[in-house]
Amino acid sequence: MIEATGLVLGYGDRVVLRDVDVALGAHELVAIVGPNGSGKSTMLRALAGALAPQHGTVRVDDRPAHVLSAAERARHVALVVAEENADGDVTVRDAVAMGRLAHRPWWRWNGGPEDDAIVDAALERVDLTSLADRFLDTLSSGERQRVWIATALAQQSPTMLLDEPTSHLDLAAAYATLDILHDLAADGAAIGVVLHDLNLAVACVDRVILVGDGTVLADGPVDAVFRSELLSRAYGANIAVRRTTDGAMIAVPERAVRRR
């Protein structure tokens, strides 16, 4: 659904990432991981068409992203950003209803009954129906994250890209969020999600893209990417990969391992 080849990404004269070749297909839940400032979010924005690459092309559903209008792009790719400030006096339902914006002419103020039904279904899917009339600033971080996911769901685009949707979430809420994404992928969506927490990624996704050293260091199934030498190189620290007694993998910095 999204295919990027030979991307060079950056801001002004500064290059953040080069030689980025990644693809994201239907039914896939892919985590993008890497250290702070490695360019994960930059890559996500470029894949969503919100940032023009300095070189290379992004193809969205077999069309070059740069020829798509903002509304066309929104119908193909939904981008969920966690860190941007939203006004607090928007109701949950109004926020989610904005997901329908790209499905009507841009000057039309309101959607029709079919849009309302889609909004209701999106609220239901992330369990927000009971909070629909609340203002955003009365919600917890986890509830707000679900609002952004519901907004993206209302967009009904086959691809959803999420930038750290689990930041500020407690363990249970983070796993619940990943569960929702897992179900969406199972239903056929292509989902790329930037995750800060390696262990959350390894527990929840099928494929991992590891970003570091200004490029994509590895891209493949969890087993192939979660290797001590790759992670250590990406994070610039010794990182060990261990297995818990029930076989699950965890990544631990060496210092923590020694202390144990």
């Binding site: 924005r45 969503a48 919100a50 209008s69 903002a70 509304a71 066309e72 792009r73 929104a74 119908r75 939904a78 981008l79 969920v80 950003v81 941007e84 400030n85 939203a86 006004d87 006096d89 928007v90 109701t91 109004d94 926020a95 904005m98 997901g99 914006l101 790209a102 841009w106 000057w107 039309r108 103020w109 309101n110 009339d133 952004w148 907004t151 967009q155």
Partner: protein, 332 residues
């Protein structure tokens, strides 16, 4: 449901207040008219007599101009505050009033004929605002920060030049005329000026209506709006075009009337919430009511002198606004 109810009620109250303000505005003046007389005159446009003449030739055009000025400035303020997500933004921020003030000052100093002023002010306001918008264009489109900086810089430049013209004006009466224009006044405009201003304001309002959904999405953040399919570039330009037309239409028939465009959006948000689909329409009756009432007070408070309406609005409005703002903060 309660939110929708509150919004509907607020809009109904604003419309009712506007009707009252219009009736008072037509009835009050050097010759006081009874409400029934006003009603009779309004419903019989072809009647003759003193009352009909006062209503149709003097009071009605003036009240309509006041409505237009208030509505245009308030809508323009709502649009710009929404686009920049900043409640400190005033429609004059983009330099429209300063550019028009300088042009009118020069015109008065050179002895141009007053009937030309409306057209001149309109062209100057529109050119200045669109000029500021072009200055704000960076590589990736109109940047909000550059827009504010360019607007402040250009306004300061024209304010300086206007002061210079006032000081160098050929006569004291020319200087006073310039000051009167700067103080805001609805004197001396008839149906003709109203017609042109209404035309431009109507175009501005239609453009404004078209950007309302996009401005509403911007409340979730610029990146989110973009991801939801909002063309930010188009939205910013159309908002600036709409706001420029509205400000230019207002300035052409009123001179500089401050405060309305800054404050009315706040009042409307306090009543209806911040949804642009409500703030923009509700700004129309709210802005219109305030300017109609202010103009009525300006021309009836100390007869036969007419107070500058801009000055009056600052004197009455600013304390009222501070009261509301600080009371809200305490409540919050």
């Amino acid at each position: 449901m309660t939110l929708t109810l509150r919004r509907g009620l607020s809009l109904a109250v604003l419309l009712a207040l506007l009707i009252v303000a219009v009736m008072v505005g037509i009835a009050a003046g050097a010759v006081g008219l009874a409400p029934s007389a006003v009603w009779t005159a309004l419903t019989h446009p072809h009647a003759t007599g003193d009352v009909a003449a006062i209503v149709w030739a003097l009071r009605l055009p003036r009240v309509l101009i006041a409505m237009l000025v208030g509505a245009a400035l308030a809508v323009s303020g709502s649009l710009l505050q929404g686009m920049l997500r900043n409640g400190l933004v005033d429609p004059y921020l983009t330099g429209g009033s300063a550019g028009a003030a300088f042009t009118i000052a020069v015109a008065i100093a050179l002895g141009a004929s007053p009937p030309l002023f409306a057209g001149l002010a309109f062209v100057a306001a529109l050119t200045t605002t669109l000029g500021v918008a072009s200055l704000a264009r960076s590589g990736r489109g109109v940047s909000p920060e550059r827009l504010i900086l360019a607007g402040i810089a250009v306004s300061a430049l024209f304010a300086g030049l206007t002061t210079l013209v006032i000081m160098l004006a050929p006569s004291a009466s020319a200087s006073l005329s310039i000051l009167a224009w700067l103080g805001g006044s609805l004197v001396g405009h008839g149906w003709n000026d109203l017609g042109w201003a209404a035309l431009y304001a109507a175009i501005g309002t239609i453009v404004a209506a078209a950007v309302v959904p996009a401005l509403n999405a911007i409340r979730l953040g610029d990146t989110r709006a973009m991801a939801l399919g909002v063309d930010m570039e188009r939205t910013r330009w159309l908002t600036l075009v709409a706001s420029s037309l509205l400000v230019a239409a207002a300035v052409s028939v009123s001179g500089v009337i401050g405060f309305v465009g800054l404050i009315v959006p706040h009042l409307v948000r306090a009543m209806c919430g911040a949804d642009t689909r409500w703030t923009v329409p509700a700004s129309i009756p709210a802005g219109a009511t305030i300017v109609v009432l202010a103009d009525t007070i300006a021309r009836t408070a100390v007869p036969p002198i007419e107070l500058p309406i801009g000055v009056l609005l600052s004197l009455l409005g600013v304390p009222a606004f501070l009261f509301i703002a600080f009371r809200r903060r305490r409540a919050a």
